[in-house]
């Protein structure tokens, strides 16, 4: 079965702390990988994506993610979080040929000033 698992449901950090959110997927084939973010009161926005090539991808606002094919993982990282990073983060996969996104259940990040 196709699925995405996000390890943490709710993460609380202080400003300047480092962040790593785990994401593992189960999918029988080559995939595209995404992290989306939903800030309070706003709609889902793309944070970063991996289609092919360098497995370390950089996104907006200093976020990056590393695709490790052998571990079926696509963890999101940021060296130093800010209060404005408070949001819900969703990992998602899609087949290489395009089509529906399969989302994880989301991780709520709260950053304390």
């Amino acid at each position: 079965a196709q699925s995405v698992s996000q390890h943490n449901h709710h993460v609380i950090l202080s400003e300047a702390a480092s962040l790593e959110l785990g994401c593992n997927y189960s999918y029988g084939g080559t995939v595209n990988l995404f992290w989306y973010v939903q800030y309070p009161g706003q709609h889902l926005q793309l944070l970063l994506k991996y289609f092919s090539g360098d497995p370390l991808v950089k996104g907006i606002k200093g976020f990056e993610a590393e695709f490790i094919k052998s571990k079926f993982s696509f963890n999101l990282r940021k060296p130093s979080v800010q209060w404005s990073d408070t949001a819900e983060y969703f990992c998602a996969v899609a087949p290489l040929t395009g089509g529906k996104l399969i989302f994880g259940q989301g991780t709520e990040l709260s950053v304390k000033p």
């Binding site: 995405v4 995404f34 989306y36 706003q42 709609h43 889902l44 926005q45 793309l46 994506k49 969703f90 998602a92 040929t97 395009g98 089509g99 529906k100 996104l101 399969i102 989302f103 994880g104 259940q105 989301g106």
Partner: protein, 120 residues
């Protein structure tokens, strides 16, 4: 407009009532997707259109759910005889579909603000 728009933003329905949710995709976007997001969960796929053709409706939970995109632009998701378990946020997304190596390709899905449906 600049982004995907959805209307209404909020809808309260009595159990058994029919509802219609509208999505206006980004102009020129060929592909359109509907997702359902229950409270505390990630979005779940409902259905997918390429232009006016509904290519995948495997995620529609029952025959009470029906989606259409008759002119390949605006789409409507209709839920008949709503039930309490239909309460959720309904998200629409659109994307440009471009030719790829296998004749298929796509770009990022851009999401609308969603319609929050509450069935009492």
């Amino acid at each position: 407009g600049a982004g995907v728009s959805q209307s209404p933003r909020y809808k309260v329905a009595k159990r058994g009532q029919d509802v219609a949710l509208r999505c206006d995709p980004i102009s020129g976007h060929v592909s359109l997707f509907w997702y359902q997001q229950a409270l505390g969960q990630g979005p779940e796929f409902l259905t997918y259109f390429q232009n006016e053709a509904q290519l995948d409706k495997s995620g529609l939970p029952s025959d009470r759910f029906f989606a259409e995109r008759p002119e390949g632009s605006v789409s409507t998701l209709k839920i008949q005889r709503t039930q309490q378990e239909d309460s959720a946020v309904y998200l629409c997304a659109s994307s440009i579909k471009i030719p790829g190596l296998a004749g298929l390709g796509w770009k990022t899905q851009y999401f609308g603000p969603g319609t929050r449906l509450l069935v009492l």
